[in-house]
Point group: C2
Chain length 494, copies 2
C-alpha cells in the first residue's frame, strides 16, 4: 500500500466524497450555488469526530466553551474594524465582465503586489499593464467588495451581518467569561460554529466556501508575558519563519531561540500539531509558516499558519494569530476589558488558534487516501475519526448467520451507534466498500460463529484477520479493546 501524492488526489477524493456521501455541491436540483457544500451521512460523522477531538483537547486545557449567534449587529463589526477593513479589492474586465480579486489578475501577470485599498489598486493598473486572464483585455475597473454578508435594516435589530469569524462573540463577552473564570488569567475560550464570507470566487469545494465551519480559541494572556503553561510536548515541528530558512525544532527550542515570539504562541503551535495529527493529518505533510508582514489581517500583528500539503500546494488549515481586539471593544463600548492582577490592572493580549474545519476534513481525506496493490482504495483514517467504528457482516445470508449477525450488531450499537450492518453482495465487496470509507474493523459472522460464538475481525490497513469471542467485543467495544490491539493482526495470514 502506498500513499497517494499525485496531482489527482483531490479529484479522487471529490469523486469518492460524492459517490459515498461525504460531501457534494448544495442545491443541485436547482442548478447549484458556488461556494456551498452539503455534508452527507459519512461526512457529518467524520466532521463531528474532528470537532470532538478539538473540543476534548481544549477542555483538557480548561478552556471555557461558548456558542454565540451568527447574526451580529453593526456595532460589533464597526468596533472590530471589519465594517471598514474587511473588504476584497476586486476587478472586472470591461469586455468579458470576468470578476476576480485584483490580485488574481495581477499574480497571473507575474506581479507580487498585495492590495488593501481601491486607490492602491487603481494606481497599480494605471501604471502597469494587467490583462484579463480570460480575454486578454487590459484591466482598468477596480472596486471594493464587502466580504461580510449584510442584512440592512432588519426592523428592531437594525443592520445585521453574518459573522466572518466566531471570535468577536468571545471578545464582547470577555468580562462575563472572566468573571465566571473567577477573574483569573490566563484564560482560554473556545467556540465552534459557522462563519460566512461572500467570496468573489469560491473554489476547490471545501477549500474556499461562502459558508464554512470553524473551531476558534481565544487565549487571553498577560500582554507582556504572553505565558500559558510550560511546554511539555517535545515533538519536532517543521517551522518556516518569515525571511529565513525552514528549521525542525520542538516548540520549546523555537521559543527559547526567539524564532517563535512567545511561550503562548509556541504552546498553541505544538498543541495544534498534536490535535491535527490526532485528526489524521500526516506529520510529513504539515508545516508551520509565519505570515509575511503584508499578509497579516487588519487585526493581527504576528501570525503562524499550520499548512497541509495537498497535491503539492501548501494550504492553511489552522492559523495561530497574536491579536489585540479587546482594546477596540473597550474604546467603542465604553465597558472595561481590564483584569486585576498583583501588578495592577491590565487589558489582556489574545493568542488565537483558529481552524477551518472543512479544510481539515478535506486534508484528512487526502492524507488518508491510499491505494492497495490490487488498485482498491483505502481511507486510512484514525479509528476514532472514521465515520463508522466497525461494520458487521454475516458471511452468508443463511443458516442463521444473518440472525446472529443482526443480534451482535444490535448489541454493539447499544454502546456505540457508529456501527454499520451490511448483508448484501460478496464478502470481498463488502470489505472493499468499508475500506473505501475508512471503517477500521469488519466483523464477520460465519459457520464457526454459530458453533463457538467467535467472530473474525479484519483490520482495514493490513487486511489481516483474527478470531475472538463475540462476548469480548460486546462487553469491551472496539476502540481501545485490548483483545483486538493492532499487534494481534501482525502475524496473521492476509
Amino acid at each position: 500500500m502506498t500513499a497517494e501524492k499525485t496531482e489527482s488526489t483531490y479529484e479522487k477524493v471529490v469523486e469518492l466524497a460524492k459517490r459515498r456521501g461525504f460531501f457534494w455541491p448544495s442545491f443541485s436540483i436547482y442548478g447549484g450555488e458556488a461556494g456551498f457544500y452539503d455534508y452527507g451521512p459519512l461526512g457529518v460523522m467524520l466532521k463531528d469526530n474532528i470537532i470532538r477531538i478539538w473540543k476534548e483537547a481544549y477542555l483538557r486545557e480548561n478552556a471555557l466553551l461558548i456558542d454565540t449567534p451568527v447574526l451580529v449587529p453593526r456595532a460589533v463589526f464597526q468596533a472590530s474594524g471589519h465594517v471598514d477593513k474587511f473588504l476584497d479589492i476586486a476587478a472586472e474586465c470591461d469586455k468579458c465582465h470576468l470578476r476576480q480579486k485584483l490580485e488574481t489578475f495581477t499574480k497571473s501577470a507575474g506581479y507580487e503586489e498585495v492590495f488593501d485599498t481601491v486607490e492602491s489598486g487603481l494606481s497599480f493598473v494605471r501604471d502597469n499593464v494587467v490583462k484579463c486572464t480570460n480575454c486578454g483585455t487590459r484591466i482598468t475597473r477596480v472596486y471594493d467588495v464587502r466580504q461580510m454578508f449584510f442584512l440592512p435594516d432588519q426592523g428592531s435589530s437594525g443592520d445585521l451581518f453574518l459573522r466572518p469569524e466566531t471570535a468577536q462573540g468571545i471578545f464582547i463577552n470577555f468580562k462575563i467569561l472572566n468573571n465566571l473564570f473567577r477573574g483569573k488569567l490566563p484564560m482560554a475560550v473556545a467556540q465552534t460554529g459557522k462563519g460566512f464570507r461572500n467570496e468573489i470566487a469560491p473554489r476547490q469545494s471545501l477549500i474556499r466556501m461562502r459558508e464554512f465551519n470553524m473551531c476558534e480559541v481565544e487565549v487571553f494572556v498577560h500582554p507582556e508575558k504572553k505565558f500559558w503553561a510550560e511546554i511539555e510536548y517535545e515533538d519536532d515541528i517543521t517551522i518556516c519563519p518569515r525571511s529565513s530558512q525552514p528549521v525542525t525544532l520542538n516548540a520549546r527550542e523555537a521559543v527559547n531561540s526567539g524564532i517563535i515570539s512567545s511561550n503562548a504562541m509556541g504552546y498553541f503551535i505544538t498543541l495544534t500539531q498534536q490535535i491535527l495529527l490526532k485528526m489524521g493529518i500526516s506529520r510529513d505533510r504539515l508545516r508551520f509558516r509565519q505570515h509575511e508582514k503584508n499578509e497579516l489581517a487588519h487585526y493581527s500583528f504576528d501570525s503562524w499558519d499550520a499548512e497541509a500539503e495537498l497535491d503539492g500546494n501548501w494550504i492553511e488549515i489552522t492559523g495561530i494569530a497574536d491579536r489585540n481586539d479587546l482594546r477596540n471593544h473597550e474604546k467603542t463600548s465604553g465597558e472595561s476589558m481590564s483584569v486585576s492582577t498583583e501588578e495592577g490592572d491590565i487589558v489582556p493580549s489574545v493568542i488565537e488558534p483558529a481552524s477551518g474545519v472543512d479544510r481539515i476534513v478535506l486534508s484528512v481525506l487526502m492524507h488518508s487516501l491510499k491505494t492497495r496493490e490490487n488498485g482498491y482504495t483505502v481511507l486510512s483514517l484514525p479509528p476514532d475519526v472514521a465515520p463508522y467504528h466497525a461494520a458487521v457482516f454475516p458471511l452468508m445470508k443463511k443458516n442463521g448467520m444473518d440472525q446472529l449477525a443482526r443480534k451482535i450488531f444490535r448489541s454493539l450499537s447499544l454502546n456505540d451507534p457508529c456501527v454499520f450492518y451490511d448483508e448484501s453482495g460478496s464478502i470481498g465487496k463488502r470489505y472493499a466498500r468499508q475500506d473505501e470509507v475508512g471503517t477500521p474493523y469488519c466483523i464477520t459472522i460465519d459457520g464457526a460463529s454459530l458453533e463457538d460464538g467467535t467472530v473474525t475481525i479484519r483490520e482495514r490497513d493490513s487486511a489481516k484477520q483474527i478470531r475472538i469471542a463475540a462476548e469480548e467485543l460486546i462487553n469491551h467495544g472496539l476502540i481501545g479493546n485490548p483483545s483486538i490491539s493492532l499487534d494481534k493482526f501482525k502475524n496473521q495470514p492476509s
Copy 2:
C-alpha cells in the same frame, strides 16, 4: 427535596443561567438585541449533551445524517411555499406605534381568530373593535411581515434567505440520499443546526428567538402505508387528540384505535417521549397534543406537539408533522422524487419529528430545578446530560491532599474531559456550587485518601457518600461504573 412548580421557576432558571454561565442575552456591551442569546460554558455542554442523545437515538434507527447550508437560494423556498406563505400578519398602533402579531392584539381582546392573510386581518379589524394593548387606540393598520431573514441580490448567488427550518435541505437532497440508502424505503434523515426567524416580538429568552437550534428528522414512508417499524415501546403517553378528551395510552393502542393516524406517526411520538425523558423532561409534565385544523403550518396536514408544562403553561418542544413536501420540489425543479417499489413508483410521504433544542434546554433546566430543605438549589439533571460528570476536590489545600486531588483529576480527565477541579472555599460551599449546576458526583480527597488510596463520592440528589478506591474510578470512569451504582448511596448517612 421538592420539585419546583411555582410561577417563579422561569425567573429562577434565568437568574441561575446568567450567574453560573448557562445562557445570557447576546451583545450586552452594545445594548443587546432582542431574540439573541449566548450559551455560556455550562450551557454549551448541556446543549451538546441534549443534541448527542437525539443523534444517538436516531443513529440507532439507522437514520442518515446530513448538514446543509443555512443560506439558501430563493428557488428552494419558492418551491416549498415559504416565500409566499411564511408570513406573519402584524398590526401597528397608529398612536403609540406598538407592533405585534395581529393575533396578540385580538387574543387580548378575547377573540380566538387566527389570520393567514392581510385581507382577513383587515376585514376583522373593520368589523370588530380591537384596541392597542398599550394605549387603547383602535387598531386599523394590518400588514404582513416576512418571517425569513432575506439577503437580496448577493452577487452571483442572487437572492438568499436564512433558513427557517433545516428540513428543506433534506428534501432537495432526497434522491441523492435515497441512492446512498440503496433505493430503500422507509428511510430517515436527521439534521441538527441553526434556524432563523425574524420574529416581530421575541420573548422569554430561549422560548422565542430570532436565531435558534433545531434537531429535525425527515422520515420518508410509503404514502398509503405510512409504516416505519413495529412499535415495541409500551410506555404510557398522555395524548390530547383534536376535539376530544385527553387519554393515557401507549402508542400501539393509540394507533390501533385510530386516535393516532399512522404507525409512523405513533412510532415517532413514542420515540420522541423516550428521547425527551432521557434528556431530563419530567414524565408528568409532558403531553402530546394534536394541532387544531387552523393551527397547521402551510406544509402540514396533521401534526402533534410534544408539550412541556412550564410554570403552568404548555409549551411546544417537539412537533411531529405529516408533510408532503417532495411533490412541490418535484414540480418546481423538474427532478423526479419517486422511488421504485414492488408496487410501482411512488413519491414518499414525510413524517417529521422536529425539536427546538433551546426550548428543550430551558424545559430540562426548569424540570430539574429542585430546592433542598435548607433552601439550597439542586439541578437534578440525568448524569449524562449534566455539564460536568464529576467534580474533584481536596478536602483541604494542604498535607498533599491537593497534589493527590490534582493527580486524580488529571487521570479522570484523560478519559472524560467533562470533569471539574475546585480547591477554593469550604467543602460545603463547593458541594453547593456543584449541586446548583447539576454535577451528579463530587469526589473528595481527604486524609484517609493519602493513607489507603480511597476517596469519598457524594451523590447529588441524596447528598449521601460512599468511599471507594481511586483506582476503581480511574479505571472504570463515573457514568455506568457498577462500583458507584446509585443503590450504594441509599443506606449511607447523609
